[in-house]
Amino acid sequence: MSNTTAVPTPGAFQFPEIYNFPPFFTRQPNESTWQEQRRQWCDLILAYYRHNRLYSLTLAEAITEPPFTNRQIHRSLRVDVLRELVDDLVKQGNASWTGAKNAKDSCLVLWRKPEVWASMIYQWANERGLFNTVLTVFELANGDDTAGQEFHNLDSVTLRRALDVLQSQGKAQLFVGTSDDDMGVKLFA
């Protein structure tokens, strides 16, 4: 069961019962059955990634690892089925394809929507009174000030997304630093 607390859950991920059901790993031909199966898979993926604070997914590699493989029942999800699942997640807004277009080899699992991240960051900035202050992106993600925050050690791509959202909302402004890593952001009230 995945938990919804802000604190990273300690301990191993608790897989749902369906995870040990061999047909779970077979694309069901019956449509209604497949719908249900897909739903459960998406939930599982998001929950697993949230639990382990994983952000990116490379299909070819992920197949051999949990959650897409259940060693105990010797079942693995097939790549094309996973691709179908990710497509579904993308449609949901919980994932986005990265890498080459149409290659669909790697994606970003957005178990928390960028908007949510953006609002989190804005909230924190509001609390610390860091409006109109230029901050580096690095500082935002890995600074001591953000320790304890959800977005601490946030994946850079995800963070970037979130900041883009803020920027589109007009609450922040990004500007390029000396290098790509030195991106700066200035939050406005």
Binding site: S2, A6, P22, P23, N30, Q35, D43, E115, V116, M120
Partner: protein, 606 residues
């Protein structure tokens, strides 16, 4: 010889067992020693039963036939210089019954020119085809037409006939043809009434007495029957047919000799050769016909006796010479070598016997086949009878659960018997010939009859290929095309028959019992199996339900489509589980969408 019927092709019409052995053309006939002008050139057909002469000029009027049985002996005289080869046929006389005069052939047959008899003859040798009148007065000589003659006695001008119409005296002489049966010179008393009796000629006063007389009326000398007289005179001579005697009455009176002296003789003159071959064949044929004489009253009423050859006896000029010559010849001829068995005759006999044996065998063989068929029918009807008896009580026994052991045994036996019945085959299968236009309908009905039991036995569904194989095996020799089979099956619904043809999405065709088979039943059944046995594969199901593998697969797919099962594909194969997703979905719907959804407390900020 008798007139013969010809086919339009101018060949003689043969009886069923008659075969033509030899044919020779340019043959002329001789009456005794004299040429028969009317039958001078023609074709002779030698058949197994008779000798047929077909005249060349007037085939339909002048053709004659002579039965082999009437031939006593035949000899061959080779040709020399101007004379052509000749075969002499010595005819057998008819056996006398009582008196010679009585003996009349039952079927008198005369031919033109041969049937001339003296007036005394009366109704002898009738039934010629128009060549004689009912009194047996043949048209003299040629068949050109009746000849007018003047009666010596009463000066009456007569047309044709032998006897004068006024006074009844037979015509004497004045015929063109050579073979006048007459007696021309004779003036013997005429039996005007046409009595069939031949007058007895007194040896002393030459008065013709009634044949029943013992003593001459005039001179009162004893009269003896011509038979006896003849027997006295020429014992070696072959007895002649009584026709001769009748016809030669005058001669007898004249010569005072017995008619037995005269020997009937026909000669065939081969003007174009071929005599020797013909002779050999003729001998064989005559010998063969001699076999058939046994059992048949020879010369009796069965065979048409040969018309007497008036031949030499008749012509007055040669009468004595002829008879004497014939008489002289006869002892000679009598000493000739009799025909022996061997050569052609044996071969022909063997062939005949073989053919008869074959006929007998065939007949008996057919009767055996019929007997076999009849018995097979009996057996089949008996089996069906037992089947109907078994059907009602046994069916209930089978379905009863918790049956006693004896019942189970009975059920097994009933099953075995049912299997035998199925194997027994179908009597009178429907074919295109028998059914014609309604072939498919009839085929459908027959299919239903045959397969209904089997289908219900197999749980209500049978793969079409299985049904096809079973049905064709039952039909044994008149098989059905697959396309016909399928078409007939498609008619089940239209004809409201209990079976149905069903096509699954995978393409599998099955025959289903319309009443007993249903999807829900299958689903529940399979679900029960899974509940008890765990996840099952198609082969597991086939083993459980004792059905074909394709059918088991089809059933599982059916359940999956219905959402009752979900599949698990792996390297081990496809295994089917009860559908947990559906259960989970139902639970999720009931509980609202709980897990998996991002319940973010910060959501509200968006």
């Amino acid at each position: 010889m008798n007139p013969v019927e010809l086919a339009p092709t101018q060949r003689p019409l043969l009886s069923s067992s008659e075969k033509i052995l030899c044919i020779q053309n340019k043959v002329g006939l001789y009456q005794g020693l004299e040429r028969d002008e009317e039958h001078d050139c023609g074709t002779v057909y030698l058949t197994t039963q008779r000798l047929v002469y077909v005249d060349q000029q007037l085939p339909h009027e002048r053709s004659l036939a002579l039965n082999h049985q009437a031939i006593h002996r035949c000899t061959l005289h080779g040709g020399f210089l101007y004379t052509s080869a000749k075969i002499c046929l010595y005819l057998k006389p008819k056996p006398t019954n009582g008196s010679d005069r009585d003996a009349q052939p039952a079927e008198g047959s005369g031919t033109s020119g041969y049937n001339r008899q003296k007036g005394a003859q009366g109704t002898t040798l009738l039934e010629t085809t128009g060549t004689t009148n009912m009194y047996g007065q043949a048209r003299p000589g040629s068949s050109a037409g009746p000849i007018e003659w003047k009666c010596n006695i009463c000066d009456q001008i007569n047309r044709g006939g032998i006897k004068c119409t006024l006074c009844g005296v037979p015509h004497q002489g004045n015929y063109e043809s050579t073979d006048t049966c007459n007696v021309a010179a004779d003036t013997r008393p005429v039996n005007a009434s046409g009595a069939e009796r031949q007058p007895l000629r007194c040896p002393v006063c030459t008065f013709d007495n009634h044949e029943s007389m013992v003593r001459c009326e005039m001179c009162d000398t004893g009269l003896s029957k011509p038979d006896e007289a003849a027997a006295d005179q020429t014992n070696a001579a072959p007895s002649e047919s009584t026709e001769y005697q009748r016809l030669r009455t005058q001669e007898q009176a004249n010569s005072g000799r017995d008619s037995n002296d005269a020997i009937s003789l026909i000669k065939l003159s081969f003007r174009a050769g071929g005599a020797s071959a013909f002779y050999a064949t003729l001998k064989g044929a005559v010998d063969n016909s001699a076999w058939e004489l046994i059992g048949i009253d020879s010369f009796g009423e069965h065979t048409v006796p040969p018309a007497p050859l008036q031949g030499q006896q008749q012509s007055a000029a040669v009468a004595a010479a002829g008879t004497s010559a014939a008489a002289a010849n006869s002892p000679l001829l009598a000493r000739e070598r009799r025909p022996t068995t061997g050569g052609i005759s044996t071969i022909v006999n063997t062939a005949h016997e073989t053919q008869q044996a074959r006929d007998v065998t065939l007949r008996s063989a057919f009767s055996d086949l019929d007997a076999l068929t009849a018995k097979a029918n009996e057996i089949v009807s008996m089996a069906e009878h037992i089947a109907t008896q078994l059907n009602s009580p046994a069916a209930s026994k089978l379905h009863r659960k918790g049956a006693a052991e004896s019942d189970e045994d009975n059920a097994e036996r009933v099953d075995a018997f049912r299997q035998y019945l199925l194997d027994l085959g179908i009597d009178s299968p429907v074919t295109r010939d028998t059914a014609g236009a309604v072939f498919h309908d009839e085929l459908a009905r027959e299919l239903c009859d045959y397969l209904e039991n089997y289908v219900s036995q197999c749980g209500g569904t049978v793969a079409l290929v299985d049904a096809y194989c079973l049905y064709n095996r039952a039909r044994e020799f008149s098989l059905v095309y697959p396309s016909d089979f399928v078409q007939a099956c498609e008619k089940f619904e239209a004809l409201r028959l209990p079976l149905r043809l069903r096509e699954y999405p995978s393409g599998l065709l099955v025959l289903e019992d319309a009443s007993s088979a249903s999807d829900a039943l299958v689903i529940s059944r399979v679900g029960a199996y899974i509940a008890s046995f765990g996840p099952i594969t198609a082969s597991d199901l086939a083993a459980i339900e004792d059905c074909a593998l394709t059918l088991a697969e089809e059933r599982l797919w059916l359940c999956e489509r219905a959402g009752a099962l979900c599949r698990d594909e792996s390297v081990e194969g496809v295994r089917f589980y009860a559908n947990a997703f559906a259960a989970a979905a139902a639970a999720a719907v009931g509980a609202g969408r709980g897990e998996g959804d991002v319940q973010d407390p910060l959501w509200q900020y968006i």
